[in-house]
Each structure stands twice: as structure tokens, then as C-alpha cells.
Symmetry: none
Subunit: 201 residues, 4 copies
DNA sequence: CATGAATGAGATTTCATTCAT
DNA sequence: GATGAATGAAATCTCATTCAT
């Protein structure tokens, strides 16, 4: 049962993608070099360009793979949620797991910025984010949260923004943040009825 | 009344800072090079290192200057606000002005990420963000918004997150987002009393 | 039977070491540049840093190789000497061959000084010198020269010092110097016995 | 009693020479730069080229001044010596004071090597060394040391060589070295008369 | 399928020196 | 007499990529 050449090739490719995801977070998108990738993956430098047309292409593929996995995982979590509060709880758990300086958060942020300078990446990333927002909005709508689309957008943005800010130093803890975020998904708006759509006083 | 050598020096320094702020947004923090800076500022390459100890130092100084100005401007706006809604309106105006792909938004995002890899920058940037959050929280507290600190943190994070997301493509428009964000600062929480502090469901 | 890529690599590396040894002597340790090395070795500039981690590393390896060879050669000569005088004669021959302004002498001197500013080099060079002194001391001890260690140290130092001085201009000729140096290794100490203290045998 | 402009000029010149002597030892002849000199001397960069025609000229003047002082001091010491042994003792004291890694020793060595690449410096330095050897030889001759010229040359060379070697690490201590060096100046040559040939008087 | 030597451009930074003030 | 801004060359080193093997 010996490994074929093709097996080794696949393995090398896989390790390169892994290395790319790590290095984007560690060094920043623009600072990842062919040699770094090769060394981290344990392959010769030439292998990088054998498997990928360019370093950019490798980074893009690696980043999208990670983000896709994560979104899918988040989406699956939401499927199981019975109330908006529960769904929100799941998102808060993400906040607890990803503190803004962990590899995944950094990969996200780096990819956001890189997308601003790479058309293909922007399109792909846009799809990922849109998918997530749509799934979240659907969930919110089911539970009568008003303005589900805008709410989902704000929630998703707040999550990412909180990650960014946390990277800079300690802020309010997750418990307090949760309480505030919950206001966004309160199912009904009592008292002086701030009727949802479109006004600036 | 002719220009002295010192005048020319100051002018060159100023132009370099200006060029740095532009280029961070256009090319990304790590991709800004000495030559690009010199060319954009209209000075000889050697001048960059005459005025600044390193390219990093120049980028850092330029980015912090821009962010400081912006925060100050935002703070001044809030001083004039009479209600949380009004203050929020001002922030929304920012969202309208800065659409996530404009130079200022990109400078913000780039600086956030660069801060993750530069201790000095992280500290300085942390101060700027903290100052802003504090000012905002003060405003909210005056108007009986519950949990003013956490609310301010979420609001600030949401603003930055929305900018990031908008860079990827169109989302809900500013009007809708405003309405949702307003929930965060509703002065009282009637009905089923979601008592503010410290709970995870 | 054509040359492989590996062969060419080895050859390029070898030529760089050769060029480094020449240039240290010609221009001085601190004045040897990447470009000079590449040009002299007949390779592209980038090749220097492909084969060596830094110019310093290349210079160090080159210098130590030359010195190691020379010491070994000197040691082998001493193996064949039957009396201290004969051994001394061999060393004098070195003095005749290396007049203080030849590449080898200059390489020695440059390396001594560079060692003062590079920890690794200092350690390596110290070992080379110690080895030589030890070999010389052993030879002296076999022939009943008193204080063989200190004598060896003085002899080795005198040789190097003479080289340095000769670089400045003509001094006494080798024959005269030999006669004086011979006093150091006279097997017995007649007259008022300057009793030697504290030698480690 | 205020300082005139001329006074300040002289003071700046003096401080630059002082700084040059220090920096040659610390960084090596070829690594001393205009900016380093200006900073160490506490003057503006332009002042260096105002007082000296080039950095090389400044270094040369500074090095020769230090060496001249030292030789003069050593010569004065020898004037007071009554026997070769006493004179030798003085030289040994130098060995104790200058351990091969102190500023003065390093300045000497750096200057020796720089002299190999600068005609003017070589000539000037040659004179300094020759003067010293001549003074030493005169002293030895007065005390019937045979071959006084060659002996002086060997002694001077051994001193410098010992300094160089000591910079690399510990060797025999000064006491042991003294005992060995003393053999060189033993007033008579007993036993098999190694008849000294060809000394230049 | 993989290698690793090579390339030439370009990165940051430091340099000695000049010159207008 | 002194200044300090500016210059343009050159320093070291890293880069993505190519290609012969």
C-alpha cells in the first residue's frame, strides 16, 4: 500500500494550502513569500509554482477554503437554533472562541483587505458574506425580528468589528456585549413604536 | 520673504505624510515602498529616510494622524448632539461619507491589521479607539442608555464592521442600518424586562 | 557526463569563497560588497545570498577555510621537524613567503580585527589559533624548551606581529629575525637562571 | 570672557578628532560614517566636511595623533629605564594596560590595516613605528644586547602580535610572557655561540 | 512529479558629500 | 563659522518566477 507519486502531489498541495492559511494570519497577506510557504509546508520552493499558478492564487484558494468552512459551520449551528436569542448565543460563542488575534480572525481581516485589491477574491468573498447574511436574515425573519435583512447585516458587521477592536486591547467582556446585541433581535418593539423603516429625525 | 531650508524640510515632511496616508489606502500597508512614497511626494528617495527613521515609522505617524483627526472631528460632532439618536445620526453620516472603499475607511482597516504586527502602533491605535468609545459612552450615559460602555463598544464595532463589509459589495442602505442601530440606543427597555447586566442564555 | 545543476551550484559556491578570500585581503573586511563578490566570482548578484545567509557569513566561512588550511600545513611541517630550531626554521620560511602585504597575511590581519566585532568569528578563530599554539607548544616541550606554552604563545604572536609591521615597510631581514627568535627556543637557560614560573606542561 | 566663534570652531574640530579615535576602535575604520562622527562629537553633519576635506582625512589625522602620543609616552618611559629588563618591564606594563580589545589596541590594529590601503597613512605610520623601534634598539644597544635592531623589531612585533592574539581569548598570563620575552634581551649568549650575522647598526 | 539553482528586479536603508542659507 | 536639507549612488538582502535536470 505504498504512496503513489500522485498521492505525494496531493499531499504537498494540501500542506501548501495549510501553510498559506497560517502564514496569512501570522505575517499578513502581502508578506507571505514563496520561500516561506515552501519551508512551512516542507516542500522545495519550486513546488509552489508547480501546483499553483502564482502565490496570489495559492493565498486566495487557501483563504476562501477556510472562510467557506467556517461559514458552513456557523450556518449549521443556526439551523439548530430555535430562537433568535439562541442563534445570537451561537454567534457570541464565536466571539469567545475568536478573540481578534487568533489565526482565524486575522485570516478573515486580511482577506477582507486583500479583497479590496483583487477582483476575483472580492467576488468570491462577497458571495461568502452574502450567503451568511442571507442565512442569518432568514433565521431572524422566521422569528419575527423586524427588518431582518438590515438586522442581519448589522449583526454580522458588529461581530467582525468587535473582532477587529478586540485585537487592539481589552474591551467590555462577552457577557455585556451579548446583552447589548440582544437588543437588536428583540422580537417586538413596544412602547413608543419606533416603526422600522427609513427615517432620520 | 523667500522659503528657508527649514521651510522646505517641513514641506517635504508634510508631503510624505500625505503620500503615506494615500498609499496605505491604495496599496495596502505592507505594499507601500520607499520609492512609491518618494515619487508620490515629489521628493528624492533618500529624503524619506532623512525625515523618518524607517518606512514603518512614517506609515505609523501618517496613519495615526489621520485617525486622530477623524476621531476628534467625530467627538466634536457628538458634543453638539442633544439626544443619542442625534449622535447616532452623526455616526450614520460617517457611514454615508465613508463607504468602505474610500481612502479613509481603507486606512482605518489597514491600520487595524498592521497594529496586530507592531507593538507601538497597537498601543497608539488602542488609545485612539478607547478615547472614542469613552466619549461615545459618556454621551450615551447622559441620556440614560443602559450599559453605556458595552453599548458604545458595540456601536463603534458595528460602524467599523459595516465599513469592512461594504467594501465587499452593496448591502442594506444607510437608512435601514440606522433604524436597526437605533435599537441599540433606545433609552428604555419596556415590556419583558431584559434586565441589562451580565447574562448568557 | 554533463554537469548537473548541483555541480554548477557547488562550483558557484566555491568560486564565491575564493573571491571572498581575495577581496578581504584586497579591500578590507568591511569594504567587501555583494556586487564585488558576485562580479569577481562571475555569478549574478542574487547568487551570493542564495548560497550564503549573509555577506558576513560568506566572509567568515572563507576566512576560516584559508586559515584552517594554513595552520594545517604549518602543523604538518612541524611534524617533520627534528629540533626546535628546525621547526623555527619552517616558521621563518613562512615569514619569507608571507611578507605582510600578500593576500594571506592581509587575510589574517583582517580576520583578527573582524573577530573583534563578530562573536562567532571570534570563537572560531580563537580555536584555530589555540590549536596552532598547542601544536607548537607540544613540539617545544618534546625538545625541552622551558615554558613551552608561553614560549609558543610569544612565538606565534611574534610571527603575526612581524607580518603586520612588515606591511608598513622594510625592517630587518628574515635571517636576522631568525637569529633573534632562536633565543626563545634555546634548549637550556645558562647563567643567572631566570626561573620560569607557572607554566602548564 | 565669552567664547569666540573661532573658539567654538577649534572645539568642534577637537571633538571630531576625539570621536574619530573612539569610533575607529568601536566600529572599525571602514565603518565610521559622517553621521556617526557628527553625532558622537555633538555637531551638525555638515561640520565634518567643513573642518576636514574628507572622512578619510579626519580618521587619518585622529589615528596618527593617538599613536604619536602613545609612542612618545613609551619612549619617555624607556628613557628612564636603566636595564633592558627594566625597559622590557615597561613594555609588559603596556601589555597589561592594553589587552587587545581596548580602544587603543584596536585603534592601532585598525590603523595598521588601513595603512595597507592608503599611501599617506602608510608612510606616516611607518615613521611612527620606525621611530619606536629605533628608540628601543638604542636602549638595547646601550646594554649590550646583541643584534639590537633585529631584537627591537622582534620585541615590537611580539608586543603587537600578543595584543592581537589576546583579543581572541585568554592565553598565558603576562608574568609568563614576560619571562619568555626576557630571553630575547639576555645580555650575553653563552654556550654554542649563535653568532649573529648581519645586523644593520 | 519534483527539484533547487539561478535570475534580475526591487525592497529598505545608509552613505559621503554639496550647497543655499 | 555652522547648519541641515537634499542628493543619487550604493549597500544588503528578499522576491516571484523560470527552467534544466
Amino acid at each position: 500500500m505504498n504512496t503513489t507519486a500522485a498521492d505525494r502531489g496531493r499531499e504537498a498541495r494540501r500542506r501548501l494550502l495549510e501553510a498559506a492559511a497560517e502564514l496569512i494570519a501570522e505575517r499578513g497577506w502581502a508578506a507571505v513569500s514563496t520561500r516561506m510557504l515552501a519551508e512551512r509546508a516542507g516542500v522545495a520552493p519550486g513546488v509552489v509554482h508547480y501546483h499553483f499558478s502564482s502565490v496570489q492564487a495559492l493565498l486566495t484558494e487557501a483563504a476562501l477554503a477556510v472562510m467557506h468552512d467556517l461559514i458552513e459551520q456557523a450556518g449549521a449551528g443556526m439551523e439548530r437554533a430555535h430562537t433568535p436569542g439562541e442563534a445570537l448565543g451561537l454567534m457570541i460563542d464565536f466571539l469567545t472562541a475568536y478573540d481578534g488575534r487568533d489565526p482565524v480572525s486575522l485570516l478573515f481581516a486580511e482577506t477582507y483587505l486583500a479583497a479590496g485589491r483583487d477582483e476575483d477574491l472580492r467576488r468570491s468573498l462577497g458571495e461568502v458574506v452574502t450567503d451568511f447574511r442571507r442565512a442569518l436574515a432568514g433565521r431572524l425573519a422566521e422569528h419575527q425580528v423586524p427588518s431582518p435583512d438590515a438586522t442581519a447585516a448589522v449583526l454580522a458587521a458588529a461581530i467582525d468589528g468587535i473582532m477587529l477592536h478586540r485585537a487592539l486591547g481589552p474591551g467590555p467582556d462577552a457577557t455585556d456585549l451579548t446583552a447589548v446585541l440582544r437588543r437588536l433581535v428583540a422580537p417586538t418593539e413596544p412602547g413608543p413604536p419606533a416603526k422600522e423603516q427609513g427615517d432620520t429625525p
